[in-house]
Symmetry: none
Subunit: 131 residues, 4 copies
């Protein structure tokens, strides 16, 4: 699985990592039980700080996407994956709001906005189809 970080981005590196791991889970490259590299090795591979990788793992573990096995190390959640909680929907709505507002002001119609959202979703799902 490719992980690409933009060190110039204003998005924190650990957030970029979280998002890309979620994308991997979304498109099937990462399946329940799949092991993730150790904090140390991933940090070395990506050329970033240990703490940064650790923080990303912690965030994902906190939300229930990862679990830490004594022996196998960090693996993708084998039990029940987190579902569409109210909390998540609220977070989603909150984040979408700002984007929808700017889109609307810029003249993007509702259907265009929805299409773009669909397209982005589909793209993520399909990234893994050919691998």
């Amino acid at each position: 699985m490719f992980i690409e970080l933009d060190l110039q981005s204003e998005v924190p590196i650990y957030t970029q990592l979280v998002e890309q791991l979620l994308e991997g889970m979304a498109n099937g490259q990462l399946k329940p039980g799949d092991p993730l590299p150790s904090v140390r090795s991933l940090a070395a591979d990506l050329g970033i700080n240990l703490h940064t990788v650790n923080k990303a793992y912690q965030v994902l573990k906190q939300d229930g996407f990862l679990q830490v096995h004594r022996k196998q190390g960090v693996v993708i959640q084998t039990g029940e994956m987190p579902g569409i909680t109210t909390e998540f929907q609220e977070k989603l709505a909150r984040q979408l709001k700002g984007m929808a507002a700017e889109a609307a002001v810029r003249g993007m119609q509702e259907i265009e906005f929805a299409d773009m959202c669909s397209a982005v979703y589909r793209q993520i799902k399909e990234q893994g189809a050919d691998r």
Copy 2:
């Protein structure tokens, strides 16, 4: 126009302000040429520092949503509003990506995701319909 800030939020105050002003423009409560309160008075109203208001205004000015008129102070852009630039589309796609990925992993289907995006968009537009 109501502006509601969450001072405890991890979202910077000036960003919240930017978003709410954009919502106002999206739903018609703020129209081209409409004057905005001075940084001082808005800051006083909201109970925040004038620099924070100023930063929000600067961001919106920078992107072309506001203009600073030497006689009328800060007003909503009277000329051409910023359109759907490539730059904007890229920013939108980038931001949607992380959200779409988490939504997918949590089991939200493409259509549900798109519907949610539509709903948020519509809600913003309709907020202003009855005023």
Copy 3:
């Protein structure tokens, strides 16, 4: 003589006025002894504050481009026009510096920069030729 002000510009209105009056003198639309409108009437014409017009006139008078006659009001300098003083050259060099630096960083060659300067100069002179 046309005077066009940009109230959205970050350049102070009085400065814009000063510059346009200087352009008028440069291209011959305003000749030594020519009367300028009274502060009051010019302010009314341009829809700006009395103080603003007054400040522009003061600046030009201060530098010797205008003189104030008891009877005829404000007129273009009939005596010796200010020349190329060391002070002026220093001001010019100081202002050119920032522009030349940015031009150079953006890849504009010396000759292109000089050509652009020439072109602007010529354009000012020629504006008045056909009137």
Copy 4:
């Protein structure tokens, strides 16, 4: 690299900083990828507030001359430097206009004006030649 500020000047300190950093880039003292001092250390060195330094950096970042790297701090743009955009040409023409007008009124000929522009440009470039 020497940075000299005139705290008495009517030119804002952050503008002076911007111009001198651009000069450094123009004459080769600052090359792509070169790190800049942190806002704190430069502010301390120059005896000014860190916000003032920050503003200068923000302006240069906004225009694409600097980038903020999450690991290496602020560095000179490593990608493509901003080119001679229409926007820049317009800004340049606008600023030159006022200076050319006054120069013309003071009796400076077109060629003298262009020579002066050339000289200033050359001087900036050559400042770095011997280092």
